[in-house]
């Protein structure tokens, strides 16, 4: 086998970048070639300028692309130095991005699907829901956040006409009080699903995977790991497999069959 590489380095510039919640930002960046290549569930690895002491790129999923405009929509939480600097990048500023990274959602025709997102796990889940709708499937979406002001994605989910949208907040400040897994239990009791897709905090995804398994529904989960390269060169992004050993989050994932992962 002669392996071939599909990941490239692209320039991008920022079209807009603004807060859409407490410490949650939405950036639209222009990078036409990359926008044309990204599949839902894939990610990119962004160099954020402004502090040479932080050398590592920031891996981010995307919520959507506009191939005509050559733009990519990111939604991200400010959790540390790098995402803080990212949030300061003004329109017109630019940098480089490595992508498209990893393998996206495996989505084909089929029955009703359930998409479950926690926090800033929403972007790839929205992208998955859109792809599911586009392939003719019905999708219900559960969006969870700690509090109302950290929620993103409700409007985008609602815009996908084929879907029911349930919102939960941990503190009950909006939508249903509690966790996404509680909402999921209710939906599983009401409807038959063919597929669950999920992204969010690891504990949440583990819970979603367990519920899906109990209900005998296939489940794909998009995982996060500390990543250095994003394209298979360093082996720092390992995901433990239930069958033993590790897979690479950036090359075999970030989307995994949830039942294969040792949560």
């Amino acid at each position: 086998m002669q392996p071939s590489a599909k990941v490239h380095l692209y320039d991008f510039h920022v079209c807009s970048n603004e807060a859409v919640g407490r410490d949650v930002f939405r950036m639209v960046m222009e990078s036409p070639e990359l926008a044309g290549k990204l599949a839902p569930g894939q990610f990119m690895n962004i160099a954020v300028p402004g502090d040479a002491s932080h050398i590592v790129r920031i891996p981010l999923s995307f919520a959507g692309t506009d191939v005509d405009d050559g733009t990519i929509e990111l939604v991200y939480a400010v959790v540390g130095e790098g995402t803080r600097r990212l949030s300061k990048m003004g329109a017109g500023s630019g940098s480089t991005v490595v992508g498209p990274c990893g393998n996206g959602w495996r989505i084909g025709p089929g029955g009703r699907a359930l998409a479950v997102a926690g926090g800033v796990g929403a972007p790839p889940v929205i992208a998955a829901a859109r792809a599911l709708v586009e392939s003719g499937r019905d999708v219900d979406v559960i969006l969870g956040a700690q509090t109302k002001d950290r929620l993103w994605g409700e409007k985008d989910a609602c815009d996908l006409s084929a879907s029911d949208v349930v919102v939960t907040t941990d503190d009950g400040s909006y939508g249903r009080r509690g966790f996404t897994t509680q909402a999921m239990e209710d939906l599983l009791a009401q409807r038959d699903y063919d597929l669950v897709v999920t992204c969010g905090p690891s504990v949440m995804m583990a819970g979603v995977a367990r519920l899906a398994q109990d209900a005998h529904v296939a489940c794909q989960a998009s995982l996060e790991r500390m990543m250095t390269c994003g394209f298979g060169a360093c082996s720092t992004c390992n995901v433990a497999m239930r069958a033993g050993g590790y897979k690479s989050c950036c090359m075999d994932g970030p989307v995994f069959d949830a039942q294969e992962v040792a949560w």
Binding site: M1, Q2, P3, S4, A5, K6, V7, H8, L9, A47, A52, S53, H54, I55, V56, R57, V98, R225, M226, M227, T228, C229, F231, G232, A233, C234, S235, T236, C237, N238, V239, A240, G244, G245, Y246
Partner: protein
């Protein structure tokens, strides 16, 4: 502008068209970079450490950030030589044909395992221009840095692997007692030395009181260690006469030039590959421009040309 400087160097029998190599573990097995540039343009690549049988490596998390560097605890995850060759042998053989030397790195938990892995490589990797013996990985409990911690232990490994192949053997050294250990390795027939491997460090999450990685200590790489590495190459250069490959924090031609001046014949780009995937060919271009600005006709004139 066509360069007037001859950039070819000879790393202990590994004849590179230019001095730029890649550091094991930071370059996948080469093909991952073909989307960024033609890897065949590099002087050499060094593949990820590989043992006779597959190793799982360490649990996650395996990487954390440090000021101007990173710390990793991969722990030599590898598929074993047979699977390695099955997956990448054809690509690597092609790379050799494109004029880029392939150096296969050999890992082991014990002397027997080093010998066994090298025997397998010797048999299954006819394309390889040379081998690098890793006696300096800080992230494994058995073997790794423990095998290179003293001159006696290093010499023992070298003596055992030397008869296995006639091809050049490079030994990858830990950042520790380099002068003394370099002499021991030279005496046992090493063709070249590469240094340094990552420097052991520790990062504690002060909230949980636990390591930020899956083991208490891990290996530091990146710009933060460059000046330490240059000093160590200079120490090795004064200790032995076999060629050296300088490794540690190379992100620019200037960083590479420091290694050359300190006595290195080649340099490896490591962590920089991961954060700027086009770093290695850029380092090569910048190194060439520097050599030209120094008014030499052959980069070899600059090896060890540090004045003090």
């Amino acid at each position: 502008m066509v360069s007037k400087v001859s950039m070819a160097v000879d790393l202990g029998g590994i004849r590179m068209k230019n001095p730029v190599n890649t550091a094991s573990g930071t370059f996948g097995n080469g093909w991952q970079f073909e989307g960024f540039y033609s890897v065949g343009d590099l002087g050499a690549i060094t593949t990820k450490g590989c043992a006779a049988e597959a190793w799982d490596g360490n649990p996650a998390p395996r990487m954390c950030e440090l000021p101007s560097g990173i710390m990793n605890s991969v722990g030599l995850q590898n598929p074993g030589v047979r699977a390695f060759i099955a997956s990448y042998g054809e690509y690597l053989a092609g790379l050799e044909e494109r004029g880029c030397r392939v150096i296969c790195q050999v890992a082991g938990h014990s002397i027997e395992e080093y010998v066994r892995a090298l025997e397998l490589f010797e048999e299954l990797a006819p394309f390889a221009s040379g081998f690098e013996i890793n006696i300096s990985c800080p992230n494994v409990s058995k073997g790794g840095a423990a095998m290179g911690a003293t001159a006696a232990a290093a010499a023992e490994v070298m003596a055992a692997v030397r008869p296995v192949t006639k091809r050049p053997i490079v030994v990858k050294m830990a950042p520790h007692d380099v002068g003394e250990i370099a002499r021991a390795l030279e005496a046992e027939g090493a063709d070249a030395l590469s240094l340094i491997n990552t420097i052991p460090g520790m990062a504690i999450d002060v909230r949980t009181r636990r390591s930020k990685l899956s083991r208490p200590t891990a290996g530091i790489s990146g710009p933060a260690i460059h000046a330490i590495a240059v000093r160590m190459v200079w120490e090795a250069h004064r200790a032995v006469s076999i060629p050296l490959c300088g490794i540690g924090g190379v992100t620019s031609g200037e960083d590479a030039a420091e290694f050359i001046l300190a006595g290195a014949t080649a340099v490896s780009v490591g962590t920089a590959n991961l954060v700027d995937p086009t770093a290695a060919p850029r380092v090569e271009r910048e190194l060439e421009a520097w050599a030209e600005s120094q008014g030499v006709s052959d980069i070899n004139e600059l090896i060890g040309a540090f004045e003090c």
